[in-house]
Subunit: 339 residues, 2 copies
């Protein structure tokens, strides 16, 4: 086998070195004075300042099979944005401020045409959420992934003052539920969408124009997951609970932060789901209830606040809709959805 | 499509719910009073206490194609241990103490026979490194992975007092290099090993007994990555640099912490590489130099300390070997390996 045995085993060492340099240059765009070192050492280092009783908040998640749709379209920036924003939204739910982000990209063959746009998207999103891209791993896994296939995961680390944690514990009967619009599907339900439109076997459908969408199916499906950090940050102090409407939709996510003895009454006529949800339901003949359990149905975040606080909150969050209220729980159901 | 459309699209929602409960139970074994909530909310929360000027240290990495070997053997606990320890070792290099860990498991079909042993391994390793498993994601990706295939990544977050960061900057000529034994291949070079032994096409070779190993090839290849945290923790204050010998081996990892104007002289006769390295080299006819660039060759960590400090350090680290010293740099090579 002699020299370059590793290269012939499918691992591109030189490619990874030059990629690391470019990643370092990208990543440094996100580094403020808190970051002690760029990417390249064994660990990312970040100075934690100005917290009296800091609580660290962390989340790891991936983009799910949205990556298959984005791959078919060759559009990778949006995946990088998705990856950062979906994790940032998870820690924002407890009032935390994002500090650092780390990514994991795993692929069969090192393809800069895939990796670099994804990293560019991550850098854009990290900058938008005041978050430093301090590390990550680009793993070459010949034999696990075919050429052009990859997986993607990310971790965000943030911090919150212990006394400022938002955890739903102060929610009481009569509190108001506000919904913040999603940009589209965000990153949930893509396995179902791929099946409904038979995308794997018929990828050309992604280029089909739908008048109700105003553009192609593909353009709709790769819309980036919205980040709610800057929207919510000025209002953390007035929020009793923040729910990220991710996998499981409204009925499964709202209970994650609602005290046991309370329930939520959600008025489904309070907002108009994006046309994409109707389209999926009609084309796939999906049960309406299941739609709400799989998709965000147009609301990416649910906020719970005091009844007296919502008028002023709604003024500063002009796209928020009053979508329901907190009621006494009377049975096993914690989320009642009413038309 | 009617009800259960998501299930028929290959996503097992009930399975993931019952798995989440069991994960929560596993994970809670790692939760001390610093952890505010168990797994299940949107974010893992961890109280940071007793630091004056805390610096957060984080690392994300995966186990590489070692997972293919472990899969063939149906031995998943060791992968969980690997995942935690390889990341812990990365942040230990700067003197950080591990605090929280988050995992990402991605698979085609939710298989508890794979996921649970891996999580068990993670819990074992987290407990051993005083680290709390606070979150993670088990992603079902039908269409990306076949049944039984998966990918695995993890993130550790630790902290270090800013004044106690170990960064190699105080290394001077005459300092001593100590090597700490590895348990075997750790998690590097598996794509090459798989090729050398033709493991993918001839997996039965994993059950072949090798007299020089004292057991089967498979047993050798799934030995868990050793964690050095508890070994090094009492000595952080006397270490000038700590090098995790991961991908790239001694010649590529030592320079990551060595000041520009210095070089390392490594005496290759100072230690005896495990028999597995000889076996790989002979069977694969791998160039000896490349062996050192791909594998740890028997040393999982390299410590750099003051010449006067090493006798007492070596006494408290009985398995450490004096493997070389720091010299003036005279040319482009920063690591000179001599017999």
């Amino acid at each position: 086998m002699a020299s370059n045995a590793y290269q012939s085993a499918g691992v591109d060492l030189q490619g990874i070195e030059s990629l690391k340099e470019r990643i370092g240059a990208f990543a440094s765009l996100t580094h403020g004075p808190e970051v002690l070192k760029g990417v390249g050492a064994f660990a990312g280092l970040y100075r934690l300042r100005n917290y009296k009783n800091p609580v660290l908040a962390a989340s790891t998640d991936g983009v799910g099979t949205k990556l298959k749709v984005a791959s078919l379209l060759g559009h990778y920036e949006s995946l990088g944005i998705d990856l950062v924003n979906l994790n940032v939204n998870d820690i924002v739910t407890c009032g935390a401020h994002p500090l650092m982000f780390l990514d994991y990209i795993s692929l069969g063959r090192l393809d800069p045409q895939i990796v670099e746009p994804m990293l560019r998207g991550m850098v854009w999103a990290c900058r938008e959420s005041d978050c430093a891209l301090v590390g990550g791993e680009t793993a070459q896994m010949p034999g696990l992934y075919a050429d052009g296939e990859f997986d993607l995961a990310g971790t965000v680390v943030g911090a919150v003052e212990e006394s400022a944690i938002i955890d739903g514990s102060s929610v009481v009967e009569g509190d108001v539920l506000l919904g913040l619009p999603s940009s589209g599907l965000h990153t949930n339900g893509y396995s179902l969408v791929r099946k409904v439109f038979d995308i794997d076997d018929n990828p050309s459908i992604l280029y089909q124009q739908y008048s109700e969408l105003g553009h192609t199916l593909g353009e709709e499906l790769i819309k980036p997951h919205r980040s709610y950090y800057h929207t919510l940050k000025p209002h953390f102090g007035r929020l009793k609970a923040v729910v990220h409407v991710s996998g499981g939709g409204l009925p499964n996510n709202i209970p994650r932060l609602l005290p046991e003895q309370l329930a939520a009454r959600v008025r489904l006529d309070a907002w108009e789901p994006h046309p994409i949800f109707n389209l999926i339901q009609n084309v796939g003949e999906v049960d309406p209830l299941e739609m709400y359990q799989v998709f965000n149905m147009g609301l990416g975040m649910v906020l719970i606040c005091d009844h007296d606080a919502w008028p002023s909150l709604q003024r500063s969050l002009p796209d928020a809709v009053v979508m329901g209220e907190v009621v006494k729980r009377t049975d096993s159901t914690q989320v009642h959805m009413q038309r």
